[in-house]
Amino acid sequence: MDKVVETRDLHKHFGPIRAVDGLNLLVQQGEIFGLLGPNGSGKTTLIRLLIGLLQPTSGEVRTLGQTIPNKDVLAQIGYMTQASALYEDLTVRENIAFFAQMCGSHDPKWVSEAIDLVDLQDRSRSLVRTLSGGLRQRTSLACSLAHRPRLLLLDEPTVGVDPQLRATFWSYFRRLADQGVTLVVSSHVMDEAERCDRLGFMRQGKLLAEGSAQDLRNKAGTRTLEEAFLQFTEQGTGGGQS
């Protein structure tokens, strides 16, 4: 299997804050990798480092076999930001087509497919300004995949999304993974973690543990992931009281 994302001793410091602190990460092709951690644990910073939006303080990032920063490799990556970053005065379709074209995909069929995938056929001509939060979130997802990326980086894609749509989103993700797309999904919601192939627990810029949900529970000797996370946190901070 191909290594799609690989980081070596990655550091990103903002002044005294170590947002990413010596992180080694490996994501294989075709898997859904969940980045789990509380707010401020460094998930967004890590994702930005993976595509070169931020320069690492030290360490190395390789994405899709290329050392980052590399502008060309970005055409094969889809990135969905935390806020649904869209042009308010363009329609759904115009937004999706714009970002696809910026990545070099000019085929209107691909745009239609992305619209189909997120079930926005009825609203494709609506201005984003008029959309509800859930519809925006779906548009935003479509914007990150209309150019058929090999790697999708999704930064808390299901924040503010109702449970029903959240389930729908995860079915989209699974469908993409089945097509061979690699997904890195960050979240601070534990029940989403169960749906990932592998997970990384993040806290204070460090990767506390990684593996499948089952592995992590076994390793921690707990019944739920949440308990496992707390267990690893205590070990990680050197508390060790049990």
Partner: protein, 389 residues
Amino acid sequence: MNSRRIIILAQRVMRQVMRDRRTVGLLIIGPLLVLTLGAILFRAEQSPIPIGVVNEDQGLSSPISGNLQLGQRITDELTASETFDVTLLDREDWEGNLRDGTVQGVIIFPEDFSAKFQEDRQMTLDLRLEGSNPTRSMSIIGRVTEAGMKTLAELVGSIFAIPGSSQSSEGENKLPVEIQASYLYAGEQFDLMDFVAPVYIAILAMFFVFLLACVSFLRERSLGTMERLLATPTNRVEVVLGYMLGLGLFALIQVAVILFYTVWVLKIHYLGSLWLLFLVITLLAVVGVTLGILASAFARNEFQVVQFIPIIIIPQILLGGTFWAVSEMPSYLQPFAYIMPVYYANQALRDVMLKGWGLAEIWPNLVILVGIAFVLILLGSLMMRREVA
């Protein structure tokens, strides 16, 4: 109505403003800057205006008056005044000197100047002006008249009595000094609006695209689309150029409308080519877009964009040679004019509209404008923050 709630609201508003230290600073510094510049310019000690004198006056010898050299006397008077910096010229040279700006005006005393005065009891001064700056022309005319009057007044006090100088004799208010001014460029049919119009157009064109670029670029940052854009294979220079092109189109339309309106509706007098005017103004508008993009890097919200007006736009209006000629500004202010894009556009526009010059003469100004745009594109790209605001 609940006064307590109003006070709580007011407190919240004040807290927000206070937290935005730059706003507080600019609220004070902005007006101070504009006022200071205005005061300096309005009160500036005018540097002497260079004028030329062609004195061919043969003078007049009469038994009563002795030797009268009227041309020489006026020249001395002009030299003594602090307003002028007088150069003596030959008949062949004066026009060239006027054209290349060595002198701003030329007074010509013909051979029979003194004799004619004796005959007509009326002094007619032949004044040739450069003509592309109405306030300067007016001030030269005024000061020259003054010098003529003063010379005559001194004559009254001297042994020479002006023939028929008793005020009542002719019963009219006609001044004994008359100025016959002719202009190298433009001319009398040009009114003040004609002189101000070129730069007026330029400033308007620049101002609106500046705001448009600044605000739309800022939105791109605050809505997060900039981050998304930079996560595609594009780079920052491309984004800036894309904006320049996109907004440049609007600038083009705006410039066309403004020009049409001033030329055909306001019926502004102009010489030179309309296409050239269009080119210069469009170039300045493009500079405005790049300046707006650069400025947006320093703004966190739309309100802060508006604060740039007194800091970036008004100094350009004051110092860019719009109302005050740069050469007449205090020397320590002049260097600022040379970094202002409006200055170069002003020069080019005035040269075209008032002097009828063509591309062959104004190209250095255009090259500098292109250069400024280039530098601003680079700076704008460098300043573009990668992170979301």
